[in-house]
Symmetry: C2
Subunit: 331 residues, 2 copies
Amino acid sequence: MMNIVQMGLGPIGQQLTRYLAEREGISIVGGIDPDPNKIGNDLGEHAGLQKIGVEIAPDLDSVALLDKADVAVITTLSSLKKVSPQIIEAAGHGLDIVSTCEELSHPWQTQPEVAKRIDEHCRKQAVSCLGTGVNPGFLMDYLPSVLTSVCQKIDKVKVERIQDAEPRRKPFRDKIGIGLTEAEFKAKRDSIRHVGVEESVRMIADAMNWQLSDVEETLELVKADRDLKNDRIDVDKGQVSGVKQVGRGYRDGKEVITLVFKAAAGVTHSHDTINISGTPTFTSTIDGGINGDIATSAITVNAICSVREAGAGLKTMLDIQVPAYFDEASP
Amino acid sequence: MMNIVQMGLGPIGQQLTRYLAEREGISIVGGIDPDPNKIGNDLGEHAGLQKIGVEIAPDLDSVALLDKADVAVITTLSSLKKVSPQIIEAAGHGLDIVSTCEELSHPWQTQPEVAKRIDEHCRKQAVSCLGTGVNPGFLMDYLPSVLTSVCQKIDKVKVERIQDAEPRRKPFRDKIGIGLTEAEFKAKRDSIRHVGVEESVRMIADAMNWQLSDVEETLELVKADRDLKNDRIDVDKGQVSGVKQVGRGYRDGKEVITLVFKAAAGVTHSHDTINISGTPTFTSTIDGGINGDIATSAITVNAICSVREAGAGLKTMLDIQVPAYFDEASP
């Protein structure tokens, strides 16, 4: 049995509570969130379940069963700077850490000082810390890195994640600007983006020991080519239906990594495709793509075993054992 | 710079010599083979290259630069019982070990005593040992295990490797019985098979912590539905064009893992397909499939870094860091 403390009980945290409650061999022993409206409520009820007898606390020190906890699962924010104190807090209590913080997935080049501080603190506390999720963390970085294993030579890695955003949870749909006008999109531009594109480019390069001379990221809006209206979305033709981001990694000025992320309502052929150019050249495709909300809950929990096996310090997906689905229900 | 000793200089060993000679950051410091006709020859010339100044020796003790070696790459046989003394020899010299021995890829259930002996010996010598290759070792076991990472629940894993065997090296084509009559195939049946199907079933189960109640393996011949003749093959319609093997893993009597391996000349749509049934259900496909000869050389070398990073003992692909292609040529 592994005992989890959840840190962060927003939409992803609640989704995770529901999933953890189902999963055998794992128990939730605590949940914290700074929101005064949540504190004191039952964690299960907060996630739309029956009571589970765990009261939401404001911080780890207030978690009644903290001494039973093995792992902290942090689902708070995308910004590593903001999540960093929470990691330090959890590590200080001797907890291994798995987080969906996108910027934690591969922070060694993007935020080297923060990464180093977390790494040193985790080593001192003899705990390990991993940022993961479906993207960043799997589809556009880890999985392409895994696929390079069968190659004698790599010239270029191209990954496309093209997805219909309509089935995604509302915060995700809002994050990518669905339903905004072009002017609104431009005004909100800095907050409208999928976080983690550069981290994914960096992870692929790191996997192959490639030194990149430059990394670029572009973002553009996608406009609805028709009215898109149902009980989840309400987009007029010409309004923003989503976002397209492209990350590019260069070696000696040559583009060697290209990541295309497009999430928009009305996309008709969702797919996750990895194209490796080299020896051999091949393309691996998941038609229909992977639903990010389901998969992020899954991999966050699945990675726990590998994180617990890992040595102390800040880890990336490249450093850990295969974070496969695991079943504790077997005899 | 990593220094390699090759053990076994048959077709796969020679292929590996050619690949290692090209690859930067890796140097071949020795090569051994018990065949008296090979001993004393230059390892490069033996593989069809220029001289590389390394003389083929009969055993590790006779390798001049043995004290420079870091890793032994063993490409001798499929039988773990026969390869085991070579592993013990290499470990005894303090070398980490990567081998293409199919039965080494996941021997914990299939040959537990041998596995335990190797593990204990490697731990004592503080070296690590891995069996890998494209199949077993990657396409039908490691990669499906990796893909389960994004799943909340797994009901079944099905993998199909369907390949046109015509472009494969001759020993492989012979191994799968191409050009035999049905009677010849039946007489040779025990030697005509792709080794590693059960190991792959076991690896997938191990990844998910599944206890299997039973594992089955079937083998049947594939007959040519037309004459297949060119400079590589000569098969009359009705003769054997290859082999189809199916591995099945059961939990509580229910088939939960199905591996279909078909290698035959004249197959028109080669592909490597992984179907995961669960939450979510999805299919990942590599159209055209992965050429096994290229990929086995690649992953054997790519895994070296991860094996060197791994702790002491017998490892499987599940235990090591992502064995991605790595480039030592970068500044």
